[in-house]
């Protein structure tokens, strides 16, 4: 029995929701193991049982205040399947427009507000300046661009869904609102400016990756498989097949989203409420993979919009045989997707269908189950419902994006801990590297109660008898 001490970092700052990192040391002060715990239990799968399935697109966005649109859309797709309908072309495009608004605002939040402080000031900088307010003080132009880009995405969500958080737009069988020509024109006018903001951010992140090559290549190095939706091989965020690509670039599998349960299993660990999804044919943990921006850009062959496609070519030069493994490249991948999002918004708004009025298909059919899969900003999101003959929910399975990356986050935290921690001396820069590793995956551990969310940062060092050796608080 070598483990004698335990270090806890609780909660992690600048992550939406709350998590806890535990580092186990052996008797020599060397890290033996590290775990990233998710200690919150939402219970949506349990308490939605008995509700009418038509309510699910309105209930499930409450899981999250940052990416409610993703749950809203995945839920609506599952409900479409229960009704047995193919929604109209206009409804499909309007849903995708809402989705792209979500991608742009969420990626802007992740990069400009949460991650850019670490990149601009460095991991070892004073925590008092290493935040969005610090960025505003020293780099006001960057902060302003982040705010404007996020606002652009949020306004699209508000226009279609009535409000920025927890919008109500998609309904089983379609959508409840189109976009007016005046609204379309006003967003189209902003496209060149928004593209410019994303491209400026791309230059910033590329400069960082170039200047910090050593840190990038040694920052929790890991080679995994990657998963994401594709349509004819192209990056797809709303509706496609699920593709799994191996670490050396080979396409391991590609299957329809409704068949996910045949291919994806979920491993459970007693110390975390978040499950560990894996690719069934390879088992756990060999079948573990990564999702999200890095996963999607590795899984797809190309991107269908011209400027993001060009950027993808540059991005892949950093990889081995086109596959990019370094976790800090998540930021670069995220911004390429933001560029795709802005381009896709432009394409959708220029499509005459987008102002159409054929919004909803009605149906008297009631199939016993429905599956909806989309790409949330953080990765593949799966909603699976079963209903009885009256349409009441009997079973719900939700596989959230953060879950797919659970294994990678744990291994990444462990790699950082092993690289930097010796004994119980844990300088702020090291703690922040561990936090930043988690932030690369942009996990959403759910942000249901912001008042309760105001918790201090607590670090505990505990010996194997349970005695607390040291406690450090951060207000």
């Amino acid at each position: 029995m070598g483990t004698v001490r335990k270090i806890e970092v609780n909660p992690i700052t600048r992550i939406e929701g709350h998590g806890k990192i535990t580092v186990h040391l052996d008797e020599n002060g060397t890290v033996s193991e590290a775990r990233f715990h998710v200690t919150q239990f939402r219970g949506f799968e349990a308490f939605t049982k008995g509700r009418d399935f038509r309510e699910m697109p309105e209930i499930t966005p409450r899981i999250c205040g940052i990416c409610p649109v993703s749950h809203h859309l995945a839920s609506a797709k599952a409900c479409d399947a229960i009704l047995g309908v193919q929604i109209t072309s206009t409804a499909h495009k309007l849903r995708e427009l809402l989705h792209m608004g979500q991608f742009v605002q969420s990626h802007a939040l992740s990069f400009f507000h949460l991650s850019s402080p670490d990149l601009l000031f460095g991991f070892d900088a004073d925590p008092a300046i290493r935040n969005i307010v610090g960025v505003a003080a020293k780099f006001p132009e960057i902060a302003t661009k982040g705010i404007m880009l996020r606002k652009f995405g949020q306004e699209i969500i508000k226009t279609l869904g009535g409000k920025k958080v927890h919008p109500w737009h998609s309904i089983p069988g379609g959508v409840n609102r189109s976009i007016k020509e005046s609204e379309r024109d006003s967003y189209l006018k902003e496209i060149p400016t928004m593209k410019g903001y994303v491209k400026d951010a791309l230059e910033l992140v590329k400069g960082y990756l170039q200047e910090h090559k050593d840190e990038v290549s040694t920052f929790a190095p890991m080679k995994t498989s990657y998963m994401g939706l594709v349509a004819d091989g192209f990056l797809e965020l709303y509706d496609g097949d699920i593709r799994l690509r191996g670490a050396r670039g080979r396409i391991i599998d590609e299957f329809p989203d409704w068949a996910y349960a045949d291919y994806i299993g979920e491993h459970v660990e007693p110390w975390s409420y978040l499950k560990f999804p894996f690719y069934r044919p390879l088992g756990y943990p060999n079948g573990s993979y990564r999702v999200g921006p890095l996963g999607r850009l590795n899984a797809c062959d190309d991107i269908s919009t011209p400027e993001a496609s060009e950027e993808l070519k540059l991005y892949r030069q950093a990889g081995e045989e086109g596959i990019v493994h370094d976790v800090l490249y998540y930021h670069y991948a995220r911004l390429i997707e933001a560029l795709y999002g802005v381009e896709r918004i432009e394409q959708l708004l220029e499509d005459p269908d987008i102002t159409g009025s054929d919004l909803r298909i009605t149906s008297n059919e009631l199939y016993p189950e429905g599956i909806g899969v989309i790409e949330a900003p953080r990765g593949t999101l799966i909603h699976h419902y079963k209903v009885d003959e009256s349409g009441a929910i009997t079973d719900v399975n939700l596989i959230v994006a953060t879950g797919h990356n659970n294994f990678a986050m744990n291994k990444g935290v462990e790699a950082i801990a092993k690289a930097y921690i010796k004994g119980d001396d844990v300088p702020e820069g090291v703690m922040n590297r561990m936090e930043h590793l988690i932030r690369c995956y942009d996990p959403c551990l759910s942000c249901s109660t912001h008042a309760v969310g105001k918790m201090p940062l607590e670090l505990s060092i505990v010996d194997n008898s349970g005695e607390i050796l040291r406690k450090i608080y951060k207000d």
Binding site: R14, V133, I147, S448, T449, V452
Partner: protein, 154 residues
Amino acid sequence: MKAFVLGYGNVSRQDDGAGHLLAGLVARIIRKSGAEVELWRGHQLVPEVLLDIKGYQVLFFCDASLKPYPEGFLIEKVNPGDMKTEGLNMHTFGPANVLSLAEQLTGEVPDAWLISVTGESFDFSHRLTPQCKTRIKSAARAFRSFWKHLSEGL
């Protein structure tokens, strides 16, 4: 005088949504006094709100709190320098952070107050607890006097 009232919190988590109701009451009091007022409600404060507050002279932030205030609520002045930067995330992006960002990016810092109401329960529900509702009413009554004095002095 132009006032901007911000009510925020998660209305799906009982008293966490107290700021939404309180903000409506505060805005009504200001409007009845003849002043110009704009009302903003949100899940949580976000950086882009500073684009909305531009040009307003006075801000009122309405929020739920875990702190057990003796009167059930607290009205306090907020300054940019009050912000807590360590551990900052979107959950902890508070009124002082909004003011600080506004100062950095727009050069304008309106006078601002935070009205906090002690929450009783934060479980899954759209209904405020009776205790919290009572505290909101008390806070609104106190604000009526506060506003009278403040607007006379401005």
